[in-house]
């Protein structure tokens, strides 16, 4: 695949390096000419100097034949415009933007960016998962459908403890997919009884996450 990476900071650099290692054709666009020289010294001639939101730069980068444009600069407004211009002017099939301010993640998708990656959210998420005894952990967002995979620990005082799944009314758009009890993984059936200490792995629409938390924890 031909992939254009906009932004030659740490993220852009390591992304380009990994993509090259996977034998993709990569071109990196970076505004600072000195940084371009540094990158080219390490990765070979893969970087050009320029403003990736400028059409002339994208033409020089061969945007019309690019399969993917990835915008990973430190400025959200630049990442948004780079993706939108790539799509509107060059019909690039897939645009991916780094979102620096997590508040912008939904907005970017609403404005036509195919995939958004929020570093802040990922880091928060990993830290949350690493904190012991958290009762409800958001594990992963699934793209497109606003679904999330969550892990909820059933407490002694939970309304669902010692009850069979058939008796429990789950919020809309949620499904319990697995139960981890000690070392064993239980594939749930209507007869499965939930016990305090169970880790429930569920898929939930992001809007129902809070409701599910209140029910299970």
């Amino acid at each position: 695949m031909y992939i254009i990476v906009a932004g030659g900071g740490k993220v852009g650099f390591y992304l380009a390096q990994n993509l090259l290692a996977e034998e993709h054709e990569v071109l990196l666009i970076e505004r600072n000419p000195q940084r371009v020289t540094e990158i080219n010294d390490v990765l070979g001639m893969v970087a050009i100097a320029g403003d990736a939101a400028e059409t002339a730069t994208l033409v020089a980068a061969g945007a019309p034949r690019a399969d993917v444009v990835v915008a990973v600069t430190g400025e959200d407004e630049d990442n948004l415009v780079i993706c939108q211009v790539a799509r509107a002017k060059f019909h690039v099939a897939r645009t991916i933007a780094r979102v620096n301010n997590p508040k912008n993640e939904n907005l970017f998708r609403m404005l036509g960016v195919d995939v958004t990656v929020s570093q802040t959210n990922y880091i928060l998420n990993l830290i949350e998962q690493a904190i012991p005894q958290r009762s409800f952990v958001h594990l992963l967002n699934l793209w497109h459908e606003d679904l999330a995979i969550v892990d909820a620990k059933v407490s002694e005082s939970s309304a669902v403890a010692h009850r069979a799944l058939a008796e429990i009314e789950l919020p809309e758009n949620t499904a319990i997919t697995a139960i981890a009890r000690g070392p064993s993984l239980i594939v749930p059936t209507p007869a499965t009884e939930l016990l305090p200490g169970d880790d429930i792995i569920a898929i939930a629409h992001q809007e129902q996450e809070d409701e599910l938390r209140r029910l299970l924890v």
Partner: protein, 145 residues
């Protein structure tokens, strides 16, 4: 009418002052508090410090019931993003966005934004003045007319 202006440079401050003078409700957003010194002493509108690409800052400036939003910072991309937020998230009826880069201006005009490109506008005016001078003198300096 209620107008939110992002960017308190020469243009933003002037638009704000003119609207304020004619009895409109105006709020101006800028990341630099010093920028508000460009507003007249008698300015009766609101000033909000922050970036207009942040929905919370726009809310604080009263975007939710604004009749118009004007994006005139010196960053094209910031203006483009804020204008889209105003239109798509807050349904502001009138959104105007300044874009210096003529190609980007063309792209976003086609995508439905109301845009102003000072580069093409100024070039056209100046070119017009230059050419008119040429016509007045017949065939220009050194001509025989």
């Amino acid at each position: 009418m209620k107008v939110v202006i992002m960017g308190c440079g020469r243009v933003g401050a002037r638009i704000a002052a003119l609207l304020d003078n004619t009895g409109n409700q105006v709020s101006v957003i800028d990341i630099d508090s010093q920028a508000f010194r460009r507003l007249p002493v008698a300015f009766g509108g609101e000033t909000v410090i922050g970036t207009g690409i942040d929905e919370d800052i726009l809310r604080r400036a009263g975007i939710e019931d604004a009749d118009a939003f004007v994006a005139v910072t010196n960053g094209d991309n910031r203006n483009i993003m804020a204008a889209q937020v105003a239109r798509m998230v807050f349904d502001v009826p009138e959104v105007v966005c300044r874009i210096y880069d003529p190609v980007r201006e063309d792209t976003y005009r086609r995508l439905g934004l109301t845009t102003v490109c000072p580069t093409t506008t100024m070039s056209a005016i100046i070119l017009d003045l230059v050419m008119r001078g040429n016509e007045d003198e017949g065939h220009g300096r050194g001509g025989d007319g």
